[in-house]
Symmetry: C2
Subunit: 276 residues, 2 copies
């Protein structure tokens, strides 16, 4: 038996699109509705039987028992009130936004059955053309219940993600945002900044080191501007910590302080090893 | 007919080892001598017929018509005088060091037939166990002749690298070091710095974004300390330019200046696209 009768995915990009495919193929819902601003996206998904119906209108979520908000953070915040007009009281609401505090604060106050979520999958690739049912497999999905989240709602969303092949961790939104500011948002800021200052005429000399280090700078600028601004305080802290460490390296180079430099780099070697 | 009679590779790590294999397999030299501090490395290479002879002693280069210096930058600088004692006047000398000015300055004064080189291959992996004849294929090798470099010597080293499957660019050492400070040395400094400040307990939440962005922080700390210090002035400039751009991003986040933030990230998207 399916977990859900009618699942609506709002925002069928890389993550939302992949959820639609996986929910459909693993039969976690009897019916999957895709909602997108782009008609071409909906046609693409419909043609491949990844969704049963597509709509450009939020009213299409009517009658759903699961709604997944999968647009960029700022759009999720803007859509919430409209979604509330069409979603029934018993409907389970979740999202996949990359920062959680703003979303959890606002959506917990609106929806009795909201559970925030963030699958640490995805990549610099975008859109439904890169979606696949396997992208969550063995990746961690962090769920961020609020003070009033019902245990039953949390459990169903947990089962959804386990059903999609992910591992699940549960923590509060504040902790999520602090951790993500270091392990995801800061690396993106660094990559955007790094590629930005490479002189155009040097780009052709870039080899695998530059490519790896700046790969995530291909990520959507609008999406990431949203994420940075929605996790503003943590971003400022993690960026400041990074800048301080970089200045330590710069000053060791400036002072020809080989001993300090080797010590910093050796410690980094060990830390990187642990990341796998 | 082979290009060389006896080729000696000093430092049979990832790059030197790969050169030995490729020279041997493509029959670019009749005899290949490997020189390493580590007996195990030489035994590994000898057993696989990647070198004809191995030695821990620089005197083994006697009688070579090609000597490749493939140790870290600082070691190359230290070995030069000893190499000069054993290398004949007609012997072609080249190196693979990642910064060129110090090496070209010193070695051009010692050897009548020296041509500096830097294959932009290699990776965070190290040692002869990761060596392979294919690592130079389609990669760029930059050659950095000095004022007095003979055209015949430059041409033979160029033919050597083309023979190894690389593409070749020629420029002076100063230009090489300026370019590399941006496209290679800075990304390494950034990666070392980034992984260094991720709190240990957050490491397990690191996904592909953090992994890509810090991959080169696995690179050998001693090797990279050498490179940073040998390209000191350019490193200071490129790091300062990067820090300035990062501060622009931080201040846009701090001031909730979405327009500026989006503009910086969008420009980065386009630049990253060009890198391929």
């Amino acid at each position: 038996m399916s977990m859900f009768n009618k699942a609506a995915i709002i925002g069928t990009g890389l993550i939302g699109g992949s959820m639609a495919i996986a929910i459909k193929k693993k039969r976690l819902a009897r019916e999957v509705i895709g909602i997108s601003r782009h008609k071409s996206t909906l046609l693409w998904a419909k043609k491949r039987h990844w969704i049963d119906k597509g709509s450009q209108d939020l009213s299409a979520i009517r009658g759903s028992d699961l709604v997944v908000l999968a647009a960029p953070v700022n759009t999720i915040l803007k859509q919430a009130d409209t979604v509330a007009r069409f979603a029934g009281k018993e409907c389970l609401i979740t999202d996949v936004g990359s920062s959680k505090k703003q979303i959890v604060n606002k959506l917990s106050a609106i929806f009795p059955n909201f559970v925030g979520g963030h699958p640490l999958a995805g990549s610099e690739k975008r859109g439904i053309v890169n979606a696949s049912e396997d992208i969550f497999k063995d990746y961690l999905c962090i769920l961020t219940p609020g003070d009033k989240t019902r245990a039953a709602a949390l459990n169903r969303i947990k089962r959804l993600w386990l059903g999609l092949g992910a591992r699940v961790a549960v923590m509060d939104a504040e902790k999520h945002d602090r951790i993500l500011s270091f392990v995801s948002h800061l690396p993106h800021a660094v990559a955007f900044s790094l590629i930005g200052i490479i002189p155009q005429e040097y780009i052709r000399f870039g080899a695998s080191g530059l490519k790896d280090t700046t790969r995530v700078a291909s990520s959507d600028h609008k999406l990431w501007s949203d994420i940075f601004l929605s996790n503003r305080k943590n971003m400022i802290s993690s960026m400041a910590a990074f800048e301080k460490n970089l200045r330590r390296i710069r000053s060791a180079i400036l002072n020809r302080d080989e001993k300090t430099l080797v010590a910093i780099l050796k410690k980094a070697n060990i830390k990187r090893e642990a990341l796998g």
